[in-house]
């Protein structure tokens, strides 16, 4: 077959009236008999679930018939099949109510990515060489099963390690059963922007190990400490919907929104009042606000209950946090604190949010506890317009942190023989100082379920590519974003394009191959059976009124995209009375001597690439960053004054050096960043992550110092100090021309 014919016939599929494939049929690809009966040109909408961030938004997938090149029984041909054309929010879903963020919409490109791994692969070259050979699923699963069988026999402790993204629902249940079977296995939940600090704080303050659910639509006053809640933090779509309502959704009423942070984030850009605050002192400001409310008797101290008493000095009215005492330390003027405290107290319901970098300092947990106490004092816990906690159907405990796993392996305290990696890229998402790469080298057998050759998958011995989310069964139990109880479920929106298998299906298959206990704890043949079983249980608990039997309930859930309670079911803060001990607020610690490393280093979640897991999507690479307008690259943000001091021109290549590494990236002057802070988006700097992301920019995670948030295992990713030097000219692609709306020429005159 000639290539030109090839180009001709594989032209756009399904265009309703395009002319293609004229000429002699002998010169064309064969066409397979369609597996679905679809009418071309007519769209159907199928529910699905967004898996790209922990928010768990509901999707509607627009499916239309198209013609895809597929391999069937070793033959290449064209198949008319239902193809996902667009992702939109599921209007029925309580979290995102028909709306969807840019990342969620770009999830479509995961399915159609040209560099997707199309079938199981086994490593042939040396580790990291990227040389693999194709193999069948049968031999791939047999190979992994035999590795696991060996572990099972040896019974050695900690011989199986699992690194996954934080999972929920039946996928989590299957994985947990798997991990539990191998005694003392090492399950790691890895997310660079994890919420474990917030969950730990909420557990201590309110008895719920849950992230916050906000009800901004009914809030009247919002104070946020570093939380990018309209962009990437927590459940951004749900929060943005609430934000729209709080702004102009209630005629005559418009809430005030105050943001404390070091760099104007995309969220800070929408604030009515943006107040810079010294890094790590956000909790102190929260306590300063509480101090004013207590001192001026705006709220009774006892009103905060357990959450307040948890903090040292609460009963005495937080004497150390008088506004004038903390003004120097926090950089916030005393009168500002007094004013904000009075305003917040006067505008019920008021809510305080702490997250993002504010929770990623060494004192992040205390900061989160301070914000919780402030919320409790304001009386906004469990109230409309405040912070809510939906009843979680089943609570799960977390495993160990990646840092601990790596150090155990590196110090030979653990001897992991087999590592399974799912939906995580530990090599990219960990500071170089953790030694993850070295630890992985010590593990004899690594199997990855990744769809892409990322940094970690490059090291894998076996690759068992997962379906894309749109090709898979999905289930979810999102813990925040809505006060309703939610169990999402979605059948595949389209048939798989490649020779891939769903990760839970592979685990179930392995379980059956291994037999024994494991097979009996995992009785299901496939993932959808497991989901159906959980919905049968849910029917007994919740669904008897809305469906006549479990089958109807199950069918309804599939059609709708899940089951959710019709009304908010927020649960009250559970611990009452005095806590057993008190927490002493403390100052943040930073890695690096301020004299050698004069700047605070502030990595932040990219609105488009998130934590780097979306850097492989061309839509995300080419969408301009909301604030910098950068496309296809990374950058370092510097205050104009700092730039002048360093004689740095926008676009200069700068070297950022931390006590634990250095990187180079082009600099960008940002008027909205504190002079002593250098900010950099997380997302770029992949060595291997498809043609669109590989070798692009630098990864700020790699140079972070390995400090943890005290009281948790989380990385204190905002606690590193750096120095900066200009090393040359860099390349920056900006979409936007000018920083200011009025020409600078006019201003200078």
């Amino acid at each position: 077959m000639q290539r030109r014919d090839f180009l001709k016939i594989s032209a756009v599929a399904g265009a309703t009236a395009a002319l293609e494939g004229c000429g002699n049929p002998d010169h064309q690809l064969i066409r397979f008999v369609p597996e679905e009966d679809l009418i071309p040109g007519i769209a159907t909408w199928k529910p699905s679930i967004c898996t790209l961030c922990p928010a768990g938004c509901g999707l509607l997938v627009r499916v239309m018939q198209g013609e895809a090149e597929v391999v069937r029984e070793g033959r290449l041909g064209l198949l008319k099949m239902g193809l996902a054309k667009k992702l939109e929010g599921n209007p029925a879903h309580p979290i995102n109510q028909g709306k969807l963020c840019p990342r969620g919409q770009a999830g479509l490109q995961v399915t159609y990515h040209p560099d997707r791994i199309q079938g199981p692969l086994a490593r042939v070259g040396p580790r990291g060489s990227g040389q693999f050979r194709e193999m069948t699923w049968e031999s791939a699963t047999r190979q992994l099963a035999s590795q696991l069988a060996d572990l099972q026999e040896s019974g050695q402790e900690g011989s199986l390690a699992l690194i996954t993204s934080p999972l929920r629902g039946q996928k989590r249940a299957i994985l947990d059963a798997f991990a539990n079977h191998f005694k003392k296995s090492l399950p790691v939940e890895l997310a660079f922007f994890d919420d474990s600090t917030i969950r730990a704080a909420n557990l201590a303050s309110f008895g719920h190990a849950l992230p916050l659910t906000l009800d901004l639509g009914q809030s009247n006053y919002v104070v946020s400490f570093g939380a990018d809640f309209l962009g990437t933090w927590n459940s951004p779509v749900a929060q943005a919907i609430g934000f729209g309502r709080m702004r102009t959704g209630r005629p005559g009423e418009r809430a005030k929104f105050v943001q404390f942070e070091q760099r104007i984030s995309q969220t800070g850009a929408s604030a009515d009042e943006w107040i810079p605050v010294q890094p790590g002192t956000e909790g102190a400001v929260a306590l300063g606000l509480a101090h004013v409310m207590l001192a001026e008797n705006l709220r009774p101290a006892a009103g905060a209950g357990h959450a307040g008493l948890l903090l040292e000095g609460w009963s005495e009215g937080l004497p150390d946090y008088a506004p004038e005492k903390i003004a120097a330390q926090t950089g916030v003027k005393a009168e500002t604190i007094v004013r904000i405290a009075r305003e917040a107290a006067a505008h019920d319901p008021a809510v305080a949010i702490l997250g993002g970098a504010a929770a990623a300092h060494t004192n992040g947990l205390v900061g989160a506890l301070a914000a919780n106490a402030l919320n409790a004092l304001l009386g906004s816990v469990g109230k409309p317009g405040g912070i809510l906690f939906p009843p979680l159907l089943a609570a799960k405990e977390s495993g160990i942190s990646l840092e601990i796993l790596a150090s155990q392996i590196n110090s030979r305290a653990a001897a992991a023989k087999v590592l399974l990696v799912y939906n995580a890229d530990p090599v990219f998402s960990a500071p170089a100082a953790w030694g993850v790469r070295a630890a992985l080298d010590k593990i004899p057998f690594i199997a990855s379920f990744s769809s892409f050759l990322d940094e970690t998958t490059m090291l894998a011995d076996l690759i068992l590519p997962d379906h894309s989310p749109l090709e898979s069964w999905l289930d979810d139990a999102p813990p925040s974003g809505s006060a309703r109880t939610i169990r999402s479920v979605a059948p595949p929106a389209m048939h798989p394009l490649h020779n891939t298998r769903s990760m839970p299906d592979v685990l179930l298959d392995l379980a059956h191959q291994l037999g024994g206990d494991l097979a009996s704890t995992l009785p299901w043949k496939t993932y959808d059976e497991a989901i159906e079983a959980s919905f049968a249980a849910l029917y007994k608990e919740k669904g008897t009124k809305i469906a006549k039997d479990a089958d109807e309930f199950w069918q309804k859930a599939q059609d709708q995209g899940g089951w959710w309670s019709t009304e908010p079911e927020s649960v009250p803060a559970s611990p009452a009375g005095a806590p057993s001990g008190v927490v002493k607020p403390r100052a943040p610690e930073f890695a690096g001597d301020p004299n050698d490393y004069p700047f605070h280093f502030l990595p932040f979640a990219s609105q488009l690439l998130y934590d780097g897991s979306l850097a492989h999507l061309p839509w995300m690479q080419e969408a301009p960053d909301p604030l910098s307008t950068v496309m296809w690259g990374t950058w370092v943000e510097v205050n104009p004054r700092t730039a002048r001091k360093l004689s740095l021109q926008p676009g200069d290549l700068v070297e950022v050096t931390s006590p634990h590494g250095k990187l180079e990236a082009p600099a960008l002057v940002n008027p909205g960043i504190a002079p002593d802070v250098i900010a950099m988006p997380v997302g770029q700097g992949h060595q291997n992550f498809t043609r669109y992301a590989s070798g692009r920019g630098a990864n700020p995670i790699s140079i972070l110092s390995p400090l943890t948030v005290e009281g948790t295992q989380s990385l204190a990713w905002a606690a590193t100090r750096v120095k900066l030097s200009v090393v040359g000219r860099g390349k920056l692609i900006l979409f936007g021309g000018s920083l200011t709306e009025v020409s600078p020429e006019l201003e200078h005159r």
């Binding site: 594989s10 895809a68 667009k86 969807l100 159609y112 009247n220 729209g244 080419e622 296809w632």
Partner: protein, 235 residues
Amino acid sequence: MAHRWGMVIDLDRCTGCEACVVACRAENNIATVGEEQAGLSRAKHWIRVERYYEGEFPDVKVKFQPVLCQQCDAAPCETVCPTFASYHTGEGLNGQIYNRCIGTRYCANACPYEVRFFNFFNPVWDKPLHLQLNPDVSVRTVGVMEKCTFCVQRIKAGEIQAEAEKRELKDGEIRPACVQSCPPEAMVFGDLNDAESRASRLANSRRRTKLLAELGTRPKVTYLQRDSWHGDENA
């Protein structure tokens, strides 16, 4: 009475999240041009979120302003096109007829909003990314202009649906991809000839402004300027 489609963008709600930008790209088969071409300022964004800083640290403010084709009633792009590729449709849209475009790019120069984008090369999709292409929208070829159409394919589909069901279109039934996706619901689309439509009512808000109104292009996109907190008035 014919429809007259218009849009209202509430800047008090806009969070600059770029959901509209990606929604538009997905809906309208807008190709990514790649790093090199993007570096030559040839990236195509039918809708963009303009970001403007104001003031110096620490008193800095940021303004987001989504800009898309304003579908002007007195559109400078239309009169200058020598072939009627750019013209005023019966429903008041600034139509762009790709097959009639010969690529003078005069329309893009005349447009004060810079919302017109040119196909400097034939667009390319690495396979199988092309399987995502929306069959309801043309894939443009080299040498033609393209721009926001207010998702005319959705408007047409809605009108055909209403005609098939022998009924009038409902307010809010048709939503362009950007409006549909916008999480804070900053964008509202509707018929400006229907005084009762949500868009018509919002377009009369006290916060209404038109982008570059002084140029007399009479845009059909209305911006509601950011409000300020009224303090104790609401308390």
